[in-house]
């Protein structure tokens, strides 16, 4: 299975993401730049975290208007899996590929720590290697992760099972509405999440709870089950 990583000026988690995809799939992802208008045929496109365009205007706002995001939107419309992590999630929201907005953390503080996530559904390609209700560990590192959506959108997300990850056990680090940490599009092929699964994929990271997300999205056989 092939993957691509979108590179934008100001992202800083791209190396971690490329390392995770390479280690887990055995193949380095192709990289595409903000000015690229076409993305090669891949099964998964990842927009990593960071501070694209210095978070100017709003987090992800400038990146979302770059040519590469039109190419990402075209691929998403064709059913290709797209995953945005942290700033990547913000960019997907600003692009309109996912509904809602991410606002400044309620505490106004940058949070960099580990949280617990409850996997709300195993009914997506991204989460099929998890059990529904399973609680996993992941790091977060962000200043603007406070998810917001209007009541109608929120009801639709909750009703259609589009809330995929929720902060569990009182670990909501940002005031996010309904403890939302990650959502998928109506068709299920676009995932946005604030936490960093790419930073918990092997024992050297202190755990590998994030690995199953990549194994699922890349359609790999689960050769190396996560350690408990």
């Amino acid at each position: 299975m092939k993957s691509a990583v979108v590179l934008l000026p100001g992202l800083n988690r791209d190396r971690d993401m490329i390392a995770a995809l390479t280690k887990i799939s055995g193949k380095a992802p192709v990289t595409v730049w903000e000015t690229d208008t076409e993305i090669p045929d891949v099964d998964l496109i990842v927009i990593p975290g960071g501070f694209s365009y210095g978070d100017y205007l709003r987090c992800g706002a400038i990146a979302a208007r770059m040519p590469v995001m039109r190419a990402v939107a075209e691929k998403a419309a064709k059913g290709v899996q797209v995953m945005g992590v942290c700033n990547g999630f913000q960019i997907l929201l600003e692009t309109g590929l996912l509904p809602g907005a991410l606002m400044r953390n309620q505490s106004l503080k940058f949070v960099c720590r580990e949280v617990k996530l409850r996997v709300e559904t195993a009914n997506t390609s991204f989460t099929r290697q998890y059990q529904p209700g399973q609680v996993i560990r992941t790091p977060v590192a962000h200043h603007d992760g406070n998810y917001f959506a209007d009541p109608d959108t929120l009801a639709r997300l909750e009703g259609e099972g589009q809330v995929v990850f929720r902060y569990a056990e009182g670990t909501n680090p940002n005031g996010s509405i309904n403890d939302i940490a990650g959502i998928v599009s109506a068709k299920g092929n676009v995932l946005g999440l604030m936490p960093h699964p790419e930073n918990l994929i092997e024992d050297a990271h202190g755990g590998s709870d994030g690995r199953a997300l990549f194994v699922g999205a890349l359609g790999l056989p689960d050769t190396q089950p996560a350690h408990a």
Binding site: L57, G100, A101, R104, L108, G175
Partner: protein
């Protein structure tokens, strides 16, 4: 040349943690009676355009497409 000022503010009901922090700071500075503070953004835009109606339509499109996130923000366009 048309000069315009665009004001972007958070919609009612959208929590504004930064506005709240400023409100608390003002109260801590002993400015009495600060009921509420909401933070927003101002953009001063100069347009090489003489048709006011066209300028206004362009400025609104700029707001809808980039300057405001209409999920959480309202905007107001004032042409000088």
């Amino acid at each position: 040349m048309i000069k315009a000022r665009i004001t972007v503010t958070l919609k009612n009901g959208v929590l504004d943690p930064q506005g709240k922090a400023i409100e608390h700071a003002l109260t801590a500075m002993e400015f009495g009676g600060v009921g509420s503070v909401r933070q927003g953004k101002v953009f001063d835009v100069e347009l090489a355009e003489s048709d006011r109606a066209k300028a206004e339509a362009d400025l609104k499109a700029m707001c809808d497409k980039l300057l405001a996130n209409t999920v959480i923000e309202n905007y107001q366009v004032e042409i000088a």
